[in-house]
Symmetry: C2
Subunit: 427 residues, 2 copies
């Protein structure tokens, strides 16, 4: 691996070399046997366990430096490793190793009247750049998912814990080499120079096939606006729960509270509750009691405040806001059509849930709401690759092309069209 | 429909209005029943037949104007309609109407231990902008495929036959209205101002979900470099035929000649022939005779010229060139590995074919060549949605995300994740 550079011209050369190495490794990775990829992941898990003391020591130094700089506690928490987080990282590697290998899987096949046999066969996407903030575990998670799907990965992590990330990456890279996988198939950007991100977003001369940002809104927004390669990402998770007139209200309270309060900082957390006007009075007392008991602040529209003057007023801004905090905006709507209209106007296209015992109403909601994930009688917090059974996810995508919702190993593949004949020519 | 504008500020307003109308129509289109979409396509076919005389009259005027301007004959040929081309356009509409409706189709479904039932259901992509050159038939073909898949389409055609395109579009738009489909679901850019293309590529304020260019290399290159929305396209079709040592040489001659000479101007036409050195001497006489009989010019590498000094010398440039003409570059390679290496270096990732009776060699070629379409013992000219049995295609994609190879109705959809529960909350 090249040394981190000291000036802009060197940085460009350095990043270019990364891209060249990555592209060169992509062909070999596409043909890498499942056993080699899985062995690399398992060896990486072992190496991380064996070297946990050194990794934690580096991490402690970086945590101390961040504290001194006055970095926010939530940020520090995401940076921090301990024995149990190290074990989670190692375990995730083993779980990804145990997943089915998607490469070579036939997605569809059919034959033509002239005898041609056509199959669509999964192949890796190619070179994936993952740009993430100071969460060292993402280094290994992202690399593992990308490699499992036969891709090459270029990792660029946040500067505050770049040494911790590098220590984890070294375990990974050595395991790749030990398993006979090509050098260059996993690359780590060693410089904290922000221009390196610009270089990745420029596509390194067309050598990057996909960019995945992992982090806060400003990072994702920058990647979405600057990247010259396709991006899988989501900017906001403004998720809605709609409680219909035909809801089982006990279920509705449970699902609402869980959707908002299980964890408020995740993208699948609900931000807005929509209540059918026909059940608003009946649903309100139990819902508000349960939400407030968990410490949730409520902000309502005029109809809500009419029902309960103790609720603060929601501004137009509130309906557009991903709080990522124990705050819930609440609107009363006119049935499922009102809910669909509100969601069409304000949703970020991430995840929405309807609570109803009426199958026809649920079907209408599912058909007319155009979000990546739509749930019926279930918490929005299931918006997660693990909960979907994908084994692992690299993120949630709210774009419309290629993959929507959780992006796991399979979603990091594409396909090629294989046509087998016996000498057919076209008339 | 708004009137075409006269200055830049008006143009921006006009394009913006198009985008707003399109986005507004997208929700209704996503829920449009198959019967309404198919009725619209059939009504459009009828309307085009009924109005064929007027359409041909407009076309004749535009052809005359283009001739006066000294436009190239091949260009004029693509612009020209006659009774049989009008009938082909109408027939294509009926064929697309007869295809299965992809919207609502379940791509995958599974259940989770907690009882959640997860399904991936096909939905339209949304608003698709199609930017094409002066081929009036593309107006109707592109609109029909997009609408069949439940999308909204914004069409921007070449200026030389914009009136012909508009006459065809009017039939289509009226049929949409008669079938009860939303106004705004099919839009036609009425101005020939080139800034309109810029506005479409800017994404009209995030209202365009996908851009598809149809036309020559300069159009596609501009779209690929400027579009802010995802693009499905191909820039070049530098397709290879590899004749292996275990080829049936008679088959090899037939497939080679067909791949190059059936039509030389299509993107699936072969541009380079690779011959295994072990069969070069044996294969050459029959191959060269058959190719030259069809009027094909050959350009060879040193080994080819050693074998046959009558062949012109291929420059480095030749291996990178999509001739779209009766010219074939020829190289002698060292077996399938040599062919794979040559293709990795020079291919545009479109279509490649191997001719061999050895299944293991074919499998190696298929596994290691990373192009959208890979054929075994068949002509590269099968690189076409119709030949694939997709019923219709809007183009061939050589990008790596979403769809590779022929893009038909199904490839113009995406999916949403539908999760059905009974009140599940996440632990």
């Amino acid at each position: 691996m090249a040394q981190a550079p000291e000036n802009y011209a060197l940085l460009c050369d350095y990043m270019d070399a990364l891209g060249v190495d990555a592209k060169a490794a992509a062909r070999a990775m596409a043909a890498a046997p499942a056993a080699a990829k899985n062995a690399a992941l398992r060896k990486a898990a072992n190496a991380i366990r064996v070297r946990s003391r050194q990794i934690l020591a580096v991490n402690a130094e970086e945590l101390a430096a961040a504290s001194t700089k006055g970095v926010q506690p939530a940020f520090i928490d995401r940076m921090a490793l301990d024995a149990s987080r190290i074990e989670s990282i190692a375990k995730a590697l083993e779980e990804i190793a145990a997943l089915d290998d998607p490469v070579g899987k036939v997605i569809a096949s059919w034959s033509r009247p002239n005898g041609l046999e056509i199959a669509r066969v999964r192949t890796p996407i190619g070179v994936i750049a993952v740009i993430y903030e100071s969460r060292p575990n993402v280094t290994v998670d992202a690399a593992a998912i990308a490699i499992k799907a036969g891709n090459v990965v270029i990792l660029r992590g946040g500067s505050e814990c770049i040494r911790t990330s590098k220590a984890l990456f070294d375990c990974f890279a050595e395991a790749m080499a030990a398993a006979g996988l090509p050098q260059g198939a996993a690359q780590f950007v060693e410089t904290t120079d922000r221009a390196a991100v610009g270089a990745l977003l420029s596509g390194l001369g067309g050598r990057i096939d996909l960019v995945i940002p992992r982090g806060g809104k400003s990072l994702v927004a920058r990647v979405q606006s600057e990247a010259r390669a396709p991006v899988l990402s989501h900017l906001d998770g403004i998720c809605h729960v709609y409680v219909d007139r035909d809801a089982d209200l006990r279920k509705a309270v449970e699902v609402t509270v869980n959707s908002k309060m299980r964890r408020t900082g995740v993208c699948g957390a609900a931000e807005t509750l929509l209540i059918d006007k026909s059940v608003a009075e009946l649903f309100w007392p139990a819902a508000v009691a349960a939400l407030r008991e968990k410490g949730c602040e409520l902000r309502g529209d005029a109809a809500v405040r009419n029902l309960d003057p103790s609720v603060a007023k929601a501004s137009e801004e509130d309906w557009h806001t991903e709080y990522l905090a124990p705050i819930l905006s609440v609107a009363i709507v006119d049935g499922v059509d009102g809910a669909i209209a509100h969601i069409a106007k304000y949703s970020s296209g991430h995840t929405e849930s309807i609570i109803t015992e009426n199958a026809a109403t649920a079907d209408a909601f599912i058909a007319c709401v155009d979000s990546a994930i739509i749930l019926h009688n279930a918490s929005t917090q299931f918006a997660d690759g693990g909960e979907f059974g994908l084994g692992a996810e690299i993120g949630i995508a709210t774009g419309r092309l290629h993959a929507r919702g959780p992006v796991g190993v399979e979603e990091l593949t594409t396909y090629k069209n294989v046509v087998r004949g016996t000498g057919q020519v076209r008339l």
